[in-house]
Symmetry: C2
Amino acid sequence: MPLFERMTVVGVGLIGGSLAKAAKERGLVGEVLGFGRTTANLDVARARGLVDRVVTSDAEAADADLVVLATPVATCESIARRFRPHARPTTILTDVGSVKGGLVAALETAWGDAARVVGAHPIAGSEAAGAAAARPDLFEGRLCILTPTPRTDPVACERVRRLWTGIGARVETMAPKTHDRIVARISHLPHLVAYALVTAAVGRSEDGRAVLDYAGTGFLDTTRIGASPAEIWRDIALANRDAIAPALADFRSALAELERLMAAGDGQGLERALAAAAAARRALGGKG
Amino acid sequence: MPLFERMTVVGVGLIGGSLAKAAKERGLVGEVLGFGRTTANLDVARARGLVDRVVTSDAEAADADLVVLATPVATCESIARRFRPHARPTTILTDVGSVKGGLVAALETAWGDAARVVGAHPIAGSEAAGAAAARPDLFEGRLCILTPTPRTDPVACERVRRLWTGIGARVETMAPKTHDRIVARISHLPHLVAYALVTAAVGRSEDGRAVLDYAGTGFLDTTRIGASPAEIWRDIALANRDAIAPALADFRSALAELERLMAAGDGQGLERALAAAAAARRALGGKG
């Protein structure tokens, strides 16, 4: 017997589509409905077998055991509010948003039945986007953070946990605010930095040569996530700006210290600072 | 007939070792001598067949058709000065340093015979280091920038060019200052940013959880070059600080603008800025 008889995925992109396909392949869901804004993307989702059926009305979409919101963060609350009147009394609402604090609170209010709202954030993905990029192994070995609140029903939380562990993810639980502060530093800040690095190079030339023509693997690695969809990251940056601000301040301080050491010609101090960072980075190893 | 009967590589690390091995495999050099500070690394170089012989005196090392300096930038000038009395009248001196302006000028002076100094910078490599990481295909399809000056003998420059094209690199020629301004933006700035990103995360915890434990592929990609050897990057940062400073300033402005848009809650402006960067980054494609 599947964990959920029917699951609706709202936003069948990289994350939603990968979750749908993985859950279907593992027999964790009986039927997967796809719902979204863009017909062309939903056609791809169906053609690739990510979803069983595409539905187009809120009423059809909300009639499920589990509704997964996999759309940009700023859209989640209004979708929850629209779906609520059509949902079953037992429908569990979850999401995959990269920000949890404000979002989970908003979803609890919008959904009415706060006990059946389970915030989730799979730390996976790439700069790729859309149903065409979805793949069922995306979450294997990856971390998925669940952020239940005091209002969350432990049984609902456990069912969502089993969905994620069932498709190969490691699941960890923490408070929404803790989640937001951690990802501000290890995900949101690096994204903003990558966008800014590209911005600082775009259109620049030296002696008639476009500097971006000389980008090597270093630049490409460092800026890879700067190709991520702007709409998604606009929402994340705005929703988590309170946690991002101190992370940005710490980053600016670290960079300013390197610049100070350079300007002072302090080779020893500079080497010490770079070596400490390099050792910490090496300890993290290769691919996450 | 090989391009160079005998080539000495000073510093048989990732770059020097890869060049040595590739040149040997392609028959571009008759004999390769290895010279360096660290016996253990030279043992690895010989065991892996990167060099034919290890030499330990300046006199033996300088007795070659081509001397390649592949050591940290700050060490090159003094090595050139030490080698000069032992070199042949025809010995060509080249290097692989990531900074060219000041270095090439210093090498021209130290070598005396400025015509036979050819600055080179292969834009390849990784955060790995040492003879153990060397591989003969490292430069295939990669760019190598040559920076001849008005004093450089065109024949010497052409021979160095044929060495690099012979091992699969694309070669481009430009003035040392132009090179330095370009790599400040597409290589040196990203390195400093990567080190600073790691520094801003090291040792931080939220609610008892170390934030680095949650690093995903995004953080790891963005900071990969932050694992690069501190000694090498100390020298590069100091040698090219004049060109790095304006690149850093532009980066800081781009980041500050994103922060301003976030603080103002300007979703439209933020999306526009992120979308412009994302489009430019996507245009660069994947691996360099």
